[in-house]
Amino acid sequence: MKRFVYINDESYQNDYCDNQISNTKYTLWNFLPKNLWEQFRRFMNQYFLLIACLQLWSLITPVNPASTWGPLIVIFAVSATKEAWDDYNRYISDKQANEKKVWIVKNGARKHIQAQDIRVGNIVWIRENEEVPCDLVLTGTSEPQGICHVETAALDGEIDLKTRVIPTTCIGLDSEQLHKIKGVIECPIPDKDIRRFDANIRLFPPFIDNDICPLTINNTLLQSCYLRNTEWACGVAVYTGNETKLGMSRGVPEPKLTAMDAMIDKLTGAIFLFQLAVVVVLGSAGNVWKDTEARKQWYVKYDDDEPWYQILVIPLRFELLCSIMIPISIKVSLDFVKSMYAKFIDWDEEIYDQETDTPAHAANTAISEDLGQVEYILTDKTGTLTENKMIFRRCCIAGTLYGNESGDALKDIELLNAVADNSPHVIKFLTVMALCNTVIPIKSPSGTISYKAQSQDEDALVNAASNLHVVLVSKNGNNAEIHFNRRVIQYEILDILEFTSDRKRMSIVISDSQSGKIFLLSKGADEAILPLAYCGQQIKTFVDAVDKYAQLGLRTLCLGWRELSLEEYLEWSRLFKEANSALVDREWKVAEVCQKLEHTLDILGISAIEDRLQDGVPETIEILRQSGINFWMLTGDKQSTAIQIALLCNLISSEPKGQLLYINGKTEDEVARSLERVLLTMRITSSEPKELAFVVDGWALEIILTRYKEAFTELAVLSKTAICCRVTPSQKAQLVKLLKSCDYRTLAIGDGGNDVRMIQQAHIGVGISGREGLQAARAADYSIGKFRFLKRLILVHGRYSYNRTAFLSQYSFYKSLLICFIQILFSFVSGIAGTSLFNSVSLMAYNVFYTSIPVLTTVLDKDLSEKTVTQNPEILLYCQAGRLLNPSTFAGWFGRSLYHAIVVFLITIHAYANEKSEMEELSMVALSGSIWLQAFVVTLEMSSFTFLQFLAIWGNFAAFYVINLCISTIPTAGMYTIMFRLCRQPSYWITMLVSITIMFF
C-alpha cells in the first residue's frame, strides 16, 4: 500500500485526516460506557457486580445491599476519576499542540493557521527552535547547502543534533519557487518506524526534468523534533495527526504481570472454587434441614407448596454470605502499596546519580515485587557495565604499535614524531579517523570546535585525530574541511555507506577537491574489515594487535581505504542510487550494493578505544551472584573484548576456578557438534564446584536458535553464566524469551536503542539513562543512572516489596476468610438458613476499614535492616523461591483463619450463652473479638514499628470503639446502646482478653 501526496494541490487534500492530534482515550460521551466496560473486563469486578446484583433480591440477601454497592461504587469511582483526570490532562496538552500557530503556504501565499488545520500536501514553514507540527518531507532550508539540523530527543531520546538534507531534486529552489512547487511524493502508508522512510518524490514541470528522486529518513522532519541552528526550513506534510511516525509509535504496551500477581490470581481462583464448594455443601444441607426439621418449627411458618425457585434460595444466601471470602479491598490495597514502592524508588537518595543529576524512576509502578524474585539478569555491556566514555588509547598503524608504554597513544612521542614527519601511513590513518564518520563539528563564536556525534566511538576518534593535528573543522552539506599543520584540505563527501548492525562497518566516499581523486574510507569491526584486505597485504600484525587490544579490554576498530577510479565510482553510484530509491527491502538492497564497493581495501591500522568499567560493577555483580542471580552478558562487541570485560567485572573467573566453554563454528554441523560437546561438559561438571560459563557468538546463536532450541534450553538451565557476543537486538530479545519460557524471572538491563527490545521482552526492564540517549530508559520499567544501583534496587526495594506484598495479600484473604468462617459456623446454630451474624454496617466497615487501614502500613515494615540484607545477599533466595507466598504459605493463612474463627466463635457463644445470648450483643462480641485478633496478628506479623504503624494499628483499634459507640447512640440503629452495654460488662473485656491469648497457641 502506498500513499500519494500531491504537493500544494487542494483537490486531493481531503483524502487524509487533518493534523488534529488526539491522545485521549475517551470522549465526553463515551467515557462512562467505555470506562465501565474496561473495568468490567476484570474477573474480580464481574464477580463483585454479580454479588451486588444478587443482593438486590431481598429474599436472599443476608445484609443490606449497600454494604457491597458502597465499596464497589467507591472503587469504580476512584479508578474512573483517575482515568478521567489523566485523559483530561492529555486533552489539554493535545489542545495546546493543536492550536499552536504555524505558517503554511496556501494559494501561493504564506498564511498563519492553527497546527490542527494542516493537511497532507501543505507546505509548512518552520523557524529556528520551533517544534515540527507533523511529519514533513524537507523541500527547502535557509542554508545554501540544503541542510538543516534537528534535535530528535522527543522522538528517540538522543540528544545530539542530526543533519537533515533536502532531496537533490529540490536543491537550488529559492524561497519564491518553494511557494509554487507542485509534485507528487510516493510514500508508504503510515507506520511507526522512525528510522526508515522509503519514498520518492517527483516534481512537476516546469521545475525539474520530471525525475524520480529517492527519499530517506534523512530527508524528513518528523513531528515533535525541534529545528536547531538553522534559520528556517520548509517541507511538505506527508503524515498528519495521529498518523505521524510519533503518533503511530504511541500505544499502550502490554501490561506486565508480576509472578506474585499471577499467584494471587491463582489463589483467588482457588478460594472461589472453595467458596462454590461451601455454597453447594451448605446449600444442600440447608435445604435438607429445612425439609426435615424446619417444617416442624411451627414459628418459622414455611408454606407447604412453594415456588420452584425456593430450592435456590438457601444456596444463594450462602453464596452471598461467603462472597466476602474474596476481599473487595485487596485490589485497592495492592494498588496503593505498589505505588508506594514505586515512590520509594523514585525518592531514594542512594540510587540518585549525582554525576548526571538523574534520580531513579519507576515508570511501571506495578511490578516492584518481581525485582525481589529475579533469577536471571541479562545485561548489555557497553554503557551498562562500562561508562561508555570512549577514550582513544592505542593504535597500530602499518605494523607499528603506538601507546604501548604509556597506555596513551596521544602522548606517545613516536606517534607525535610520525605526525610531525608527515609519515604517509599515519596521515592516511588520521584522515580516515577524522573523516569516516557522521560527526558534526560545531564552531562556537570563540573559535573552539566541539563535535556532536551519534556514536561515542566516532567522537573518540575525531577528538583523537584533532589532538594529533588532523582537525575536522567544518562540514557543510557535502563539503568537509580538514586542517592539518596549518594546511586546509577540502573534501567533497560523495556518499555515505551507513553503519548497520548487520554490516558492522561504515564507509564514506570522498573526493579530494584539489586532486579530484576519489577515495573510499572504511572503518568497522575487525572481522568486517580485515577479510576485505587486498590480496597480498600482510594482515597478521593487525590480527595480533586486535587480539592484544581485546585482551586489555579495549574496543578495536579497523580502518582501511581504497582509491576509486571515476568510472568505477560512477557505475557504482548509479546502483547505489537505485537501491536507495527502492521502496521494498531497501536496507537489504543497499547493503548488497555497499558490498560491491567495499573490497580490496588497504588496511591502514587498528584503533583501540578504552571504555572504562563503571564504578562498583564488580562488587555489584559479586553480591547479586551471591544472592543466587545468574548473569548473562549480551553484547554486540567481539568475543575477546566481551570475555575480558566479563573477567574484569567478576562475571566469570579465570582458570582454574572457572572454565569457559566455547560454542562456535561456521557451519550448522560444527555448531551442533560444539553445542553437544559443551552440553556434555556441563552435565558432567555440574556437580563440581567449578564456575562454568559458556560463550557463544551471534552467528552460532542464530543457527542454534533456529535449529537446536531444545539443547540450548537445557544448556541455559544448566549454566549460571553466559556470554553472548556479536548479538543483534532481536537475538537479545529471543534469549530473554527463551529464559522466560523456562519459567525464570528475567531482568534485562541496558542503555541503548539496541537494548529496547530485550528490555520490553523481559519481566523487568531496567534502563540506564546514559550517553546513548534515553531510548532504553524510556522503554524500561525502571530507569537508573548507574549499574551499581541495581544492587539496591533488587536487594532492598525488590526484597521489601516482595515481603510486604506477600503479607498484605495473604492477610487480606485471611481476614476475609476469618469473618466468613464465623458466619459459616454461626449458620450451624441457626438452622443452616443463611442468617448473617453481623449487621451490614459492621461487615462493610470490617472489610474496607478496620482491617484494611492498619495493614497498609506494611509499606513501612522492614524485616531486616538494609545493611543486613546487603551484607548477606543469600537471603534473597527466599524471595526468589517464592517462600513467602505460595500455596503452602497460603494454606497456613487459611488454616489460621479457620482456627481463629473457631476460637472466636466458640468463646463467644460460650461466654455469651443463656440469658446473654442476645443477637446484637453476641454479634458485637464476635466482631470485637475479630478486631482484637486483627490488631495482634498485624502486630505479630510486622517486624519493625515506626510511629505510623503504631498509629495505624492502635488508632484503628480505638476508632473501632469510637465508631461503634457513636453508632450505639443512634436510636434507629439496630445497635442502639449495644456497645455501651458491652463496655460496662466485665465479662466482655474478659472474653476479649481470652480470645487473643488463644491466638498464641
Partner: protein, 308 residues
C-alpha cells in the same frame, strides 16, 4: 534531587522487638500470672451464683400425644412443680424461662418484624418485612406484625415459697432503651393473633407496646437455639431448704419440634449468671502459660549450660 525526609528514605525511626528466649519466658510467665487470678475470680463469682433449673416440658403433659394436648385449647394445662432450694438465695432472684431447640435466629424468623411499625404510629402499614404474618386475611395490618411477635411465649408461672404466694415482679424486665426508644408509647396492639393460626400469647390491646415488657423481652431475639429469657424477679430472699412450688400454665408448644422448656431461678454476680466457662478457660490458659514458661526456662538453662 529527590526530596529528602526520613519518610521518603524509609528511615523513620523504628523499634524492632526481638523475641529473645528471656522475653518469651517472661511473657508466658506474665500471662500465666495474670490469667490464673482472673480465672479464680471468675470461677468464684460463678460458683457464688445459686441456680435452680427445672425442666418441665415432659412432666407437665400427662398424655402421650403431647402435640395434640398442647394444641387443644380445652385441655387443662395447669401443672405444678416443686423444688428445694439448696443454698441461700439473695434477692433479686431472676426467674427465667429456658427454651432449647428454638431457632430464634432462623433467617426467615429473625427478619420477620418491622421495627418502624413498633416505633412510629404512622408506620402501622409497613408490614412488608413481616411475611408471612404481615396483614390479616382482609389486608388490615397486624400490630405488632411478624413471626417474632406472633410466636410470643405464653407460659405463666405462679411462685409459692413454703406455700406462701410470692410476687414475681414483671416490671423492668425489658431493656430500658427498648422501652423508651424502640417500642412506641402510643402504639397499641391491633389485629394481633386474630388469624387462622394462633402462634403464642395474645396482647392486651389497651396497653401500649412500650409497656408490653414480655413482648419486648421476646423480641430481643436470641442468637443461639438454647436461650433464657427473663420472666420476672422475686424481690425476696429465699433460704436454704425452702420449698419453692411453681404453678405453671403450660401453654407454649415446644413439642412439635422436640424442644424443651425449663424454669430457672438464679441469682446474679458481677459476671452475670452461672457460667463456669470463662473461669475454666482462664485457668487452663494461665496454667498452660505457666507450665510453658517453666518448660522453656528449664530448656533454656540446660541449653545454655550445654553451649557454655
Amino acid at each position: 534531587m529527590p526530596a529528602y525526609s526520613k519518610f521518603t528514605q524509609q528511615e523513620l525511626p523504628a523499634c524492632k522487638p526481638l523475641l529473645t528466649p528471656e522475653i518469651v519466658i517472661a511473657a508466658f510467665a506474665l500471662i500465666g500470672a495474670l490469667f490464673v487470678p482472673i480465672g479464680l475470680a471468675s470461677l468464684h463469682a460463678s460458683r457464688q451464683v445459686v441456680e435452680l433449673v427445672h425442666r418441665y416440658d415432659a412432666s407437665c403433659v400427662p398424655v402421650d400425644d403431647k402435640v395434640g394436648f398442647i394444641q387443644n385449647s380445652r385441655t387443662d394445662k395447669t401443672c405444678t412443680v416443686t423444688m428445694t432450694v439448696p443454698k441461700y438465695m439473695k434477692s433479686p432472684i431472676h426467674v427465667y424461662y429456658l427454651i432449647d431447640g428454638f431457632y430464634q435466629n432462623h433467617r426467615r424468623y429473625v427478619r420477620s418484624r418491622s421495627d418502624k411499625q413498633l416505633r412510629y404510629k404512622s408506620a402501622a402499614h409497613l408490614t412488608s418485612d413481616c411475611v408471612p404474618e404481615g396483614d390479616t386475611a382482609d389486608h388490615a395490618p397486624i400490630v405488632p406484625c411478624g413471626l417474632v411477635a406472633w410466636s410470643l411465649f405464653n407460659d405463666t408461672y405462679t411462685v409459692r415459697v413454703n406455700g406462701v404466694v410470692t410476687q414475681v415482679n414483671k416490671k423492668d424486665i425489658a431493656w430500658k432503651s427498648d422501652k423508651n426508644n424502640k417500642f412506641g408509647k402510643n402504639i397499641y396492639p391491633s389485629n394481633f393473633q386474630k388469624g387462622r393460626l394462633i402462634g403464642g400469647a395474645t396482647l392486651n390491646e389497651s396497653i401500649p407496646l412500650s409497656e408490653q415488657e414480655d413482648l419486648i423481652v421476646w423480641m430481643r431475639t436470641a442468637a443461639l437455639p438454647t436461650f433464657r429469657k427473663l420472666y420476672g424477679r422475686i424481690e425476696k430472699d429465699i433460704n436454704a431448704n425452702d420449698n419453692v412450688t411453681v404453678v405453671i400454665q403450660n401453654n407454649y408448644n415446644t413439642y412439635s419440634f422436640g424442644g424443651s422448656k425449663a424454669l430457672v431461678l438464679s441469682t446474679a454476680s458481677w459476671i452475670g449468671g452461672k457460667n463456669n466457662f470463662i473461669g475454666i478457660a482462664y485457668l487452663t490458659i494461665g496454667g498452660l502459660c505457666l507450665s510453658l514458661a517453666m518448660g522453656f526456662l528449664v530448656l533454656y538453662m540446660v541449653k545454655r549450660r550445654y553451649v557454655s
